[in-house]
Symmetry: none
């Protein structure tokens, strides 16, 4: 059971140098996941439901994609628990002029089906068949691991970006940015909730602005840390997306992104934190070579603490990549 989508990359999908935005790719990935997840969860009698994105595992952007290339996105269901579906997605870029094809991304998404009759009810997920017992066991492990991680996830609900007057270059305050978006009909699922892919695209947009302000160069999304979609965002909300630099290594820069939602109409409902995530960017020269990133100037203990946490994530990912490499050899 799989689904494949494909689309030509257009100027609006990319930055001025022609690199397709990471957010465009994340949105395509999520759309494929939503199609296959919703399809699967409706393959049994009972309430009709729609799959809602609950979590995206850490995703690396292996190669840049360019305007005029075709993005092929294929998604398949790789594990199901009682109430959730794991979808693995592969993105390939095809240069239709040269025939060159590259795997640019692999992503793992977790969906939860919500009833269309009662949007607060999670429906049962029909089980899939596994090619082998081993596949099932591996899936179970991934399921348990993400469940654990979601529990551990610290609530960062209280934090807000504080505007800084006349900030110094290379400080956190200098590059921090936020944008707001009024949710429109085409941003939503059949339930009237904002689609996860739409949110991720907006997050990448803010993170990209933060990175460009800091680096003043052509920056591209290198990876996105696991994102949990704690709380749904309803149609008619205004979404505020804020980003700030947390960590810089020699060749990369980590940006923390917050998504807050508030209903314009129902004022009694308070603004709430819907999503948080870490995006990592690299800076590229005109020839596409990675450039050095100016070091972040830290001010105060909080920024120092966040920098150290970012560094820990950076080192952990680096170690993981090296372990993966050795395993493959």
């Amino acid at each position: 059971m799989s689904v494949t989508t494909a689309r030509i990359m257009r100027p609006d999908d990319a930055n001025i140098v022609g690199n397709v935005h990471g957010g465009t790719i994340l949105k395509m990935i999520e759309e494929a996941g939503c199609i296959i997840g919703t399809r699967h969860c409706n393959t049994q009698p009972g309430d009709r439901c729609a799959a809602q994105l609950a979590r995206v595992e850490r995703t690396d952007f292996l190669y840049p994609m360019f305007i005029g290339e075709v993005a092929h996105v294929s998604a398949e269901i790789t594990y199901t628990s009682n109430h959730s579906v794991e979808v693995q997605v592969q993105v390939m870029s095809e240069n239709i002029l040269t025939g060159a094809m590259k795997t640019t991304n692999r992503a793992t998404l977790w969906y939860v089906p919500f009833s269309l009759k009662d949007v607060n009810t999670v429906t049962e997920v029909p089980p899939i068949k596994y090619a082998s017992l081993e596949k099932l066991e591996e899936g179970k492990k991934r399921y348990e691991a993400q469940k654990m991680e979601r529990k551990e996830m610290k609530e960062r609900n209280g934090e807000q970006l504080m505007p800084v007057t006349d900030p110094e270059p290379y400080t956190v305050g200098f590059s921090q940015s936020s944008l707001i978006h009024l949710v429109g009909p085409s941003d939503c699922t059949l339930h009237g909730f904002v689609r996860g892919g739409v949110t991720m695209k907006l997050m990448d947009e803010v993170a990209g602005i933060v990175a460009a302000r800091h680096c003043k160069t052509n920056i591209v999304t290198a990876s996105v840390d696991a994102i949990n979609f704690h709380r749904k965002i309803m149609k008619g909300c205004v979404v505020t997306i804020s980003g700030r630099a947390t960590f810089t290594s020699n060749k990369s820069m980590e940006i923390e992104v917050f998504v807050d939602a508030d209903s314009l109409i129902e004022t009694e409902k308070e603004k709430y934190r819907a999503v948080t995530a870490f995006f990592t960017y690299i800076s590229l020269s005109k020839e596409g070579k990675p450039l050095s990133i100016p070091a972040l100037k830290l001010q105060g203990e909080e920024e120092q603490k966040r920098f150290e946490e970012g560094e820990a994530r950076y080192l952990q990912n680096k170690a993981k990549r090296q372990a993966d490499k050795q395993r493959q050899q």
Copy 2:
């Protein structure tokens, strides 16, 4: 060699009743054709090229598609001549809640590859392999037939819509409409020409407005007659798309659409007729049943003549459909 694309239908793809616009579907069809055509024409050494839409054969819309459904578009190359590629496309709608799938469209498109170095040079098309000699012969027949039809195609270059003051309901003047569109970057191919799918979407938009003005009901695209893309439209042009009713039967309505292009900047270049086509619409009740169409009130000999030509096309298509049916039995 084939390509498949898929996409969820969103509110912006549909009219207020939830029926996906014919133009949305035509645009997806053309994108799939462009991908596979461009890919194929670059499978040999020499100049890189991009496939430009030259002609779409008559296309029927068999079933309506709705918001929330997934449109699957699959395209394959079915014939090649020295300088043109035939692509056959099938569109299926999938209701991911019920699992129902329907073939909603089948279309045949002809592409011509233009060099990216010199946009006036048509490049050679690499031959494809045929499953049987019969397949080759059939393709050749289709190729010759469309070549003939393109030659016979009457030039209607001189005609313009003449505005009517205070028109009577149900006359041609009452419902005729035109729109202009400033070509943007995302409307264009790698050559900087307007993509055929973008043009067809605009044509369907105008035809739909004409049909709605005449019928005052929920109208949907039933079919599109063969469209020839005689002349390319460049980036930086303004496109004027005009539509007028030509014929009404009891349950359908034919609308003639003209596309004219003119460069805003290069004054020496005159406004020219880029495309013409006939769209047929039907009118649907709230339950989705076809309604009667108010008869067109004709004024003058020209309108009478166009009506008769429309009737001839209508009868010819009806006879063809019946012959197809009998052949299938």
Copy 3:
């Protein structure tokens, strides 16, 4: 109480030279105004409501904005009457590579809250607190002034663009243009009315085509006269937007734009004039320097009269600008 939005300018936001369309900026301004207006009007018990744009004061475009720059739009409420809200908006462009920031626009918008239960009922506006009595008095003056102007506003309801066969270059008939737009879901507010920003963007599109047809150069929006949104446009309408040149000075060109709406379905409702406005354009060389504008060739008394009225507006604005300058010195 304020709101700030930010967005990167994309290729489709701009013309082929890379200048962001004035209409793109007007649309962002209106979205920020709508968010803060709707939010404010719902800060008290009673019917939920949405703020609908009633009027935009004269707006100048001080500097061009370019693709790749970030537009920052900040809106704050500066006055409230019983049934209307004044929002002042500032737009800044940021070149994120060089860090350069410029104020490109300042705008004043008036909103009226309509109940979501009964879209014909205007709800009460909660009062704001003023920093000083002076601020309140100034706001009251602005409120009275716009009220007066709206009353004085001549109805130009009857006028229509009359097409001209074979028009001579530089005449009014040569460059006049009109487009139609079928209102889609994303064009609308929660009430199902067309958002003011969507209308302004379409108006700028037509005016830009008129200006480009006349000048045959890169033209940019220099200013927009006060716009009154007399009548709401409903979902399911077709909007016809027409523009014609009224006046040319040495370095600028004034274009009058009409917006007419008609329901495709409800026949009893007649086509009506929803909005009219004057847009002023300037013509830029490749180096961004203002070029001379070809003089408008006038034909007939009506065109002569409109030219003189345009000239009066031009001289009045010039005098006002000079007075403002002197006051600042």
